[in-house]
Symmetry: C3
Amino acid sequence: MATTTWTRRHILSLIDLTLGEYETVLQTAASFREVLSSGRTKKVPALQGQVVANMFFEPSTRTRSSFELAAKRLSADILNFSPGTSSLTKGETILDTAKTYLAMGADIMVIRHQQAGVPQAIATEMDRLNSGVTILNAGDGLHQHPSQALLDLFTLTSVLDPDNPRLELLEGKKIAIVGDILHSRVARSNIYSLTAAGAKVHLAAPATLLPKAFLQMVAQKHQDKLFLHWELNPALQDADFVMTLRLQKERMTANFIPSLREYHQLFGITRDRLKLCNPNVRVLHPGPTNRGVEITSDLMDDPHLSLIPNQVASGVATRMALLYLIGISDR
Amino acid sequence: MATTTWTRRHILSLIDLTLGEYETVLQTAASFREVLSSGRTKKVPALQGQVVANMFFEPSTRTRSSFELAAKRLSADILNFSPGTSSLTKGETILDTAKTYLAMGADIMVIRHQQAGVPQAIATEMDRLNSGVTILNAGDGLHQHPSQALLDLFTLTSVLDPDNPRLELLEGKKIAIVGDILHSRVARSNIYSLTAAGAKVHLAAPATLLPKAFLQMVAQKHQDKLFLHWELNPALQDADFVMTLRLQKERMTANFIPSLREYHQLFGITRDRLKLCNPNVRVLHPGPTNRGVEITSDLMDDPHLSLIPNQVASGVATRMALLYLIGISDR
Amino acid sequence: MATTTWTRRHILSLIDLTLGEYETVLQTAASFREVLSSGRTKKVPALQGQVVANMFFEPSTRTRSSFELAAKRLSADILNFSPGTSSLTKGETILDTAKTYLAMGADIMVIRHQQAGVPQAIATEMDRLNSGVTILNAGDGLHQHPSQALLDLFTLTSVLDPDNPRLELLEGKKIAIVGDILHSRVARSNIYSLTAAGAKVHLAAPATLLPKAFLQMVAQKHQDKLFLHWELNPALQDADFVMTLRLQKERMTANFIPSLREYHQLFGITRDRLKLCNPNVRVLHPGPTNRGVEITSDLMDDPHLSLIPNQVASGVATRMALLYLIGISDR
């Protein structure tokens, strides 16, 4: 397990993250988890005086709260941007909004946007201006959601070795990712991190939500690690982990699936279906969950099977690690 | 005046609060009021590192700000949940939302919801999970609003003895509660605290807003302390305190009252009507007020008669006391 | 350059600000700019324990964030008021809202309102109550926006002498203010500060946006310092600074201008037109900008010509100065 000195300025996607960077994130998150669990003083002064601008152009409570708490734990000052009341409605461009926060003194911008590429565009502009500002992509369109995939990675490796989460623990593990792959930036990011760790990733979805084109786009360099299935069972067979994805209800009205009930019939995760998996299988979901659609309610609440609360808890520690690494590194 | 060591995990209603617990709240609030009024350092480090999640499913600025300021004064970290942009709109259940905040590391959840029973349901789930999380009901439907009644209790007893507010000060006092009793969680909570203190509580409202069923439901064990009137004067006669309630304007369109003007004519509190009361009478209102409906404008602004600013100020001290007691107690 | 001991309780308008007060603001802002640029500890404990209530009845992200960051840098506690979810929608008056924040313990209220005079009305009420609360006008209707004009003043004087910004630097300078003067509280405030500094202020706008009545109202005591033009070139001729104003797009539909394109044709600032100015001319805009309407896009992004980022950065330092001066002064 070789960690690395952090030199990356922005975290925009996992496409080119190195193995050393993955290990550094895991180790840093593990050390922050320790801070969070040790008695009452759950704060560290690492980012004191620094300003984290939470720029969620696409509304979100869950991810925004997770980043906000992570930043508070690091003693940063936080500016929350709310698109509803912002200058965007007055015709300002997104880059101008970002430059306004830069001029105010933002050190780190956490950016979510419904359009793919916005965090990258802001990062490019910030670099062009030699601003020193670092960008953390908190989800952009159908592109990437790196902090989610990294918290998933931290969750998975922590299950396998709580004291020492590291990539090699996932070597050769079979991980099924089930659901609306087509519209999931979570899946897109996880494919990179999980295959980098040496896991075998099996995607399963109806053909409308997992087009063949997807295979060509993503899978070329992962032919021995990435597998596609248009039915559920081959993906579940002997799986070590099952990662379900949120099905957005508007997909049904757009005719991607015939009905929620039929979707659940064919791709919903149930206690019964998990019998196909490795006996120690654990289930993940990025949330928020539609109980009874992607996953049955009783499965979700089973502490022996569901890793969903672990994912949320890992989120704070992992995001502390990311803010810390891009916030304090010398570049 | 016997205070008590605090062992209660959640504050959901006042139905079963003990006399010792009431006294402890009053004394703790009094000591925080001292902190707030002593020069510039108005903060104590009591809840440093703890996370207070302000979960106001029903929007509110007034009560949310009061809790937020109380938590800041105790040096807690605060997560504000905003229902408009939350996962609830994406189909997540309320319990799942609460479990997400639990997994993020929330220690105390302050919950307001338009449905009665939601804080209790979340508390039950948090206990089932052995989470250690404590719940503070900030108003649920037509059920309870315990922090409001406790701040009212602190306001009333502080008027009678600023240095040593305690229950026995209200023994035998006559307190009129006037207005929309039917829809008031404030009234429901105050009935418990005021009768517990030994006050005589006189409810006055039009019959549509104070149904007989209410008498049967609530008053059985308070027959010598709780009195109902369908006109105003008998309630005001010799009253020591008059507590008016907010009349929501939508009640008129729902035909509970013929018109705001007629309501004011019959149940509005005026300087003239207060002549029926004890000469030292003081008036309360939980706010926000409809000037000229529940109470005349000049009465509201009279510092000798109105305790409304005292109530707001008491709110911060009382909520500091509640957060402190449930936040630091050993259970 | 004679500074002054600060005794003013509220900052509501610049109409009667003294030269000494202007100098004090500039010097205090300069010292806070030093704090902000010196390494990582960008905070001072000046307002520790004090509560700043950000009451933006008119929504704003830019100005609100600037004040919020300024208050955080001074270690104050901040209460954010959001009109959408407030008691205002329940019929409460603005003065009652302010009195609620007073009773909660607010020390400073930063107020923006779409109606002119609201900050003054709240200040009057706070004084009547001997509350000790100080009011900072963050923009009221078409009346005043003092913190914007003061940050502009700080920006302009800092360009001329970064180490020692002071009024006399603007003596005799020609400053063109171009655009929708009629609807601009920014222009109204800047006219007072810039003429006080001894600058020659040239207003340029279409006649519909710069009525003659305006001249009579404002210019009487500034006849040798304030000049009006209904075309652009005479204002730009030999100008040292050009301050453009935001054109709200709804003005077009209200027939104040024939079209955005025609407005840009006649009053838009372009690189070409700046050739009329002093060779060292610099351009300002209070933001948010309509690129290609008030100013061309390339001009806005030219670091040698545009002072827009300086204005935003000056905003935090200037607002720290204002909060500090009204927050700590003995009165």
